[in-house]
């Protein structure tokens, strides 16, 4: 079960004609798929479309009623490959994953799909993880559309436009026999709004029905000589068909006056940002009515030349608002205008910075610079000559600390990396590679473990150069999500086959945790629609790993460190794999907390552990924090004139995982930590025993107090 449940929201997906849906972009996308008669959906989670996968999973009942097949694919490649169903069958299919990394993984299947061409509408919904909040390298998915020639939609970021784009996408795909990629940016996925719903439509041909009448056509197979024919088909037939459909159905939109000295062209996804800048410049009203001609490219590939040339006609200059680089569209439009012999100046990069997100300020500055240069008469006086000087604000950049993401309170991965850091302190530093997942946070302070990440499931593979071994064995990290995504073959299989002498640590937290706690094959939960509980260690044995150490409680730092030490020092020459398993604390707390509270309320005996620091024993050296970074392990300034430095302090958010105590023990740090386990609804015997103990203990305490001075505090 995923971190966030959409069970309640999913009910709104049943709305029909005449209703209004209000909610998040991802739910609107799901609703649009159902309204457009989709026959099968799938995908692979990853921000910003993780929640779309969660919505789809939670909507399985509804989809079942409609005869829609939902598949939680093993990877983006698997998701894209699933669209093969639309090659021969007139069934609409949609899959979703994140861009650009998901598209990287899927690109093999996507390229084959694009070459074969499709019969039923094939839609790839890509959550473009670019700009603020992104967790990946900053690239564009655009290049994939260009190289494989499938079409790319980038609708305006409001719910009606996004919903419309789904229908347009399917229709365009079918009209041009080409898969279509629908791109939604980070914020569009979670933007809220409303749209008018229509009835859900069951697929005219369901995947189940299709099996009754199998179809094949060797002309669609990517093999010579058909592959040569595919290339020509793309250029001679599919592309013109797409252009015609785009023009006939006016998929690209125009706003503002028919003509003007200048014009602005923007990608659909940039529309709201452009309008906001125009509003601030006094060039658009609150509803987006602009006094500058605006051409919105809801289809960003292909760019329809005739339409672009038409828009530019008679204009002295046009500004293209295209975020990210390379500036693929600017290059295309530049070439179009040049070949057409147009005199219109094309502005874009230059006025806008070449790299990076177009933030509100950049958009404002860019548009202002453009209008000021080419049509200053349009600008109102207060923009032309602002008369209020800006207030100088104090510079806080040096004092406000950065706050990158990190392990949650009680995270079972923290003790793994604390153990690894301790092992390194003991045996010397090692070559370590990371992987994708929460465990990548270990690269940051306080652990600073792992120097690279080459892709999902590729941690051990990216250490392959060091597989031959040497004085110090190399270590790589791999998560359970990455393991099942492709790590089993690309990383572990690679190690076995090449007789790797290095060490791999598999972080098994029972979920694809970083993407929001979706189940994977080795999840321990019972999932009614998925097959879980397949142990990683068995898969390892299956591919031929002989040296396996299964740790079932990562919080046992002493044992964890011993396993790492053994892997690094054993005489065994083959691949050494440690599977470190403990449940993601975020998910565990969400699962257990309500049960625990209920049990306490019901009068059942429940123990709730929490840790603490004796402030008088703590000397304020913070060594424990350098092996933890736990949000609940913080600092406190004491009201004691004799103390210079703040001492460690554990706040109420502690979940009692025990990492701090274990680390203090394993690293022999200090005796400040204690665990206080509160027993709710204790047994009668327990209460009696505690009373007896307390009596004896306070007798001893009073005895000692009688022979010495007692000051008010514990120690001063």
């Amino acid at each position: 079960m995923a971190e966030r449940s959409f069970k309640a929201e999913v009910e709104h997906l049943r709305k029909g004609s005449g209703d209004v849906f209000t909610g998040e972009g991802i739910l609107a996308l799901t609703k649009a798929l159902l309204e457009n008669g989709v026959g099968y959906v799938g995908g692979y989670q990853g921000a910003p479309i993780s929640h779309l996968m969660d919505v789809l999973a939670d909507a399985q009942d509804l989809m079942g009623e409609l005869g829609v097949r939902f598949e939680a694919n093993a990877s983006e490649a698997a998701a894209a490959a699933m669209l093969a169903a639309s090659v021969h069958y007139p069934i609409r299919g949609a899959v979703t994953f994140k861009g650009s990394v998901g598209v990287n993984v899927a690109s093999d299947a996507l390229a084959n799909l694009a070459s074969s061409g499709v019969n039923g509408g094939a839609l790839v919904i890509v959550g473009e993880d670019y700009g603020e909040g992104s967790s990946i390298m900053q690239e564009r998915s655009y290049g994939f559309a260009m190289k494989s020639q499938f079409w790319l939609l980038d609708p305006r970021p409001n719910l009606p436009s996004i919903v419309k784009a789904v229908g347009d996408g399917f229709a365009l795909s079918e009209a041009s026999n080409t898969p279509v990629m629908l791109m939604v940016r980070i914020r569009s996925c979670h933007v809220t709004g409303s749209f008018e719903t229509s009835d859900n439509v069951p697929p005219p041909l369901s995947v189940q029905d299709a099996l009754a009448n199998p179809q094949r056509d060797f002309k669609r197979v990517v093999l010579p000589p058909m592959s040569y024919a595919h290339e020509h088909d793309k250029i001679d037939n599919r592309w013109p068909a797409a252009e015609k459909f785009i023009l006939d159905n006016k998929l690209n939109e125009r706003f503002g006056p028919e003509s003007g000295k200048v014009g602005i062209m923007c990608l659909g996804g940039m529309y709201n940002g452009v309008i906001r800048a125009l509003q601030r410049l006094g060039l658009a009203d609150i509803s987006g009515n602009t006094s500058v001609p605006l051409y919105v490219l809801n289809v960003t590939y292909p760019i329809v030349k005739s339409d672009v040339v038409d828009f530019c006609k008679g204009k002295e200059a046009v500004l293209l608002v295209e975020e990210g680089q390379p500036e693929f569209i600017e290059q295309q439009i530049g070439a179009m205008l040049y070949k057409e012999g147009a005199t219109t100046r094309l502005e874009g990069k230059g006025i806008f910075p070449k790299a990076g997100e177009y933030t509100g300020q950049i958009m404002f500055d860019g548009l202002e610079a453009f209008v000021r240069q080419y049509a200053p008469d349009l600008l109102p006086a207060k923009v032309l000559a602002p008369n209020t000087p800006k207030t100088e604000l104090p510079d806080l950049t040096k004092s406000v600390p950065i706050r990158p993401p990190g392990f949650c309170t009680g995270c079972p991965e923290r003790p793994i990396f604390a153990s690894l850091k301790l092992a390194e302190q003991e045996l010397g530093p090692r070559q370590i590679t990371g992987d994708i997942g929460c465990h990548l946070f270990a690269c940051l302070p306080p652990f600073e473990i792992g120097g690279s990440t080459m892709g999902y499931g590729l941690g051990p593979a990216s250490n392959a150069a060091f597989d031959g071994g040497g004085e110090h064995r190399a270590i790589s990290i791999l998560g359970d999500g990455g393991f099942w995504h492709n790590g089993l073959s690309s990383s572990i299989g690679n190690m076995v086959f090449n007789k790797s002498d290095s060490v791999a640590i598999i972080v098994d937290n029972y979920y694809s945790a970083a993407t929001g706690g979706q189940d994977v094959l080795s999840s321990r939960a019972q999932n009614s629609t998925k097959s879980t509980n397949h142990p990683i260690s068995k898969a390892l044995e299956g591919v031929g790993v002989e040296w396996i150490r299964q740790i079932d409680r990562t919080y046992d730092v002493t044992q964890m460190r011993a396993a790492i030490r053994e892997a690094l020092t054993t005489d065994y020459k083959g691949p050494k794999v440690i599977v470190a398993s403990s449940e993601c604390m975020l998910n565990r707390q969400r699962r257990e907390k309500p049960l625990r509270n209920k049990a306490i309320a019901d009068g059942k005996r429940v123990e709730t552990p929490r840790f603490g620091v004796d402030q008088d024993v703590c000397t304020g050296d913070h060594a424990c924090i350098r092996l933890s970074g736990c949000p609940s392990l913080s600092l406190k300034k004491l009201d004691d004139p004799l103390r210079d430095d703040p001492v460690a302090h554990i706040d109420q958010s502690c979940v009692g995982c025990g990492n701090c105590g274990e680390v203090a023990d394993a690293a022999i740090l200090c005796p400040s930590f204690y665990e206080a386990k509160v027993v709710h609804n204790p047994t009668v015997f327990e209460t009696w025993l505690t009373g007896l103990r307390k009596k004896v203990i306070s007798w001893l305490q009073n005895r000692r107090a009688g022979k010495r001075l007692t000051f008010s505090g514990e120690a001063l």
Partner: protein, 517 residues
């Protein structure tokens, strides 16, 4: 081209002034999403158009995260909202933590012409603040000062405490503060209705809402001026009469010290007596008085104050006996039970995490025997085998308590131990070095006293502290004849507190060597 007289320019649409732009800056896990949902549902219930966006993804794992909301009156036709806040264009900024308020200011989301800033003053320390061996905490005062300049209206209060006090979380108290700030054109009842519509933990949320509302309207109640005893000796300790009279004699000696030294001396004396006994306290005052004699009022007794502090810290070192003593005191049990909320219906198990090494065991032996063993690797190995392992001691059980109680009772034995001898030698060497700089190099003496701050922690951390201390002192010797010697010692000490391994200190020492060598 004309001189750009904007005759035909469009006037700015006045309806644009009706858009309210609100940014929420939070730390992942704080419930910024819940707050956003409430605000959105509130705006819609009041007939407003509203759009919210957030940046999902890994930032929600304890990182800095941001939510953004825009709203406009319902009579406007299909307003186009932005999906992200822009610098200089935010009406209301809500920061769920003090440094996030700072981040909002840095990003330009707080400007004096328009922004109401609602921020919680509590701190969730970033990792970089916590890992510094010294004090790496960022300055809230700096952010507060900037917030005063940057905002049009400012509401600053500890919204976290306000919420936790009534059994809720910060999102609810911030929502209350938003209502109380009157920055949105909606009535209080409408806000509360939004919480009820949300339907989860309604009662607790409403309590926190009320607390936040109140804080925004009336500000934080001025902290009652703490009546700090001017002279700490007023606080009388409890204990048998004969020891009380001994204590009275020590207090009288403190009272005879120069006034500026008394507070620190009283604190120091209390610590030392609490650590051992009154005779040990007397030793402390002997050492202190010797330095006070060499000090002058012209310097405001700076040397004596530092001596009062650091001699006490050096004398009350952290040995096994002290740890065991502290861990068996009744006040400790009371404090933990209060912190954990243990009531009459609960019982509490208390487990202490201890890990003794041979060094600690040998430190407890008489000096001669201890030294012999310390220098005999075979014996050290043997003792390690017997004792060196992690021990989880149930201090609430009779067996566990008795063990610690016995160790804590070794106080009368302490002065004979090897550890005590080692601490004494170290203390004497240090004070001798201090005395050597007096009277001519007063500044050097003060700085050498302050270097005691470097020694803290247990086992390896303690050893590392000692080696840093030694390094700084050796650096001090290189600059002792220079006019700016004391400043250099201070710089070396600060460098030593910057990182664990002492990289900064080594760098600073290289610099010193470069101009002294």
């Amino acid at each position: 081209m004309s001189l750009a007289l904007p005759l035909d320019a469009q006037p700015t649409d006045p309806a644009l002034e009706g858009i309210i732009k609100l940014a929420v800056m939070a730390v992942g896990g704080q419930g910024g999403g819940v707050l956003t949902n409430w605000i959105e549902s509130l705006a819609r219930s009041q007939g407003y158009h509203c759009q919210a966006t957030s940046v999902a993804g890994v930032a929600q794992r304890t990182g800095a995260t941001i939510y953004y909301i825009e709203m406009a009156p319902g009579d406007v036709a299909a307003p186009v909202f932005s999906l992200a806040p822009a610098a200089g264009d935010v009406d209301i900024a809500i920061a769920a933590e003090m440094m996030e308020a700072g981040r909002a200011i840095i990003r330009g989301f707080v400007t004096p012409d328009r922004t109401t800033l609602i921020a919680s003053t509590h701190r969730m320390l970033a990792v970089s603040e916590k890992t510094v061996p010294g004090d790496g905490m960022a300055s809230s005062d700096e952010v507060r000062a900037a917030a005063e300049v940057a905002s049009q209206k400012l509401i600053l209060a500890d919204m976290d405490r306000a919420a936790v006090k009534v059994g809720s979380v910060i999102s609810a108290s911030l929502f209350g503060a938003l209502a109380g700030s009157e920055a949105l054109p909606f009535k209080r009842e409408a806000f509360e209705e939004a919480i009820r519509t949300g339907g989860k933990g309604v009662e607790a949320s409403l309590r926190a809402f009320a607390a936040g509302y109140d804080l925004a309207q009336n500000g934080e109640p001025a902290k009652p001026v703490e009546e700090k005893p001017v002279q700490q000796e007023i606080v009388a300790p409890k204990g048998p009469a004969d020891i009380q009279s001994e204590w009275a004699r020590l207090e009288a000696r403190v009272a005879a010290l120069p006034e500026t030294v008394r507070v620190m001396a009283a604190a120091g004396l209390t610590k030392v007596v609490d650590f051992q006994d009154c005779a040990y306290g007397s030793e402390y005052l002997d050492r202190l008085e010797a330095l006070v004699k060499a000090d002058t009022a012209e310097r405001e007794y700076e040397l004596s104050c530092e001596a009062a502090k650091y001699i006490a810290n050096a004398m009350a070192y952290d040995d096994v006996i002290r740890v065991a003593d502290l861990k068996t005191r009744p006040q400790r049990f009371d404090r933990i039970e209060a912190e954990m909320g243990v009531g009459n219906d609960n019982v509490m198990h208390l487990t202490d995490y201890l890990h003794p090494r041979a060094e600690e065991i040998v430190g407890l032996l008489p000096e001669k025997l201890g030294r012999k063993m310390e220098n005999d690797p075979a014996w050290m190995k043997r003792i390690d085998r017997w004792f060196n392992r992690g021990r989880r001691l149930r201090t609430d059980s009779l067996r566990g308590f008795a063990m610690l109680y016995f160790l804590g009772g070794l106080r009368n034995w302490r002065l004979k131990t090897l550890r005590h001898k080692m601490e004494q030698d170290h203390l004497n060497d240090w004070l001798q070095m201090v005395a050597g700089y007096l009277p001519d190099r007063y500044g050097m003496a003060v700085e050498i006293l302050r270097c005691r701050r470097l020694i803290k922690g247990y086992s390896d951390t303690h050893a590392r502290g000692l080696s840093k201390f030694d390094k700084v002192l050796s650096g001090a010797r290189m600059v002792e004849d220079r006019e700016d010697g004391p400043q250099w010692v201070a710089r070396l000490r600060e460098a030593a507190l910057k990182d664990e391994k002492g990289t900064e200190l080594d760098g600073a020492l290289k610099t010193v060597e470069s101009f002294t060598g």
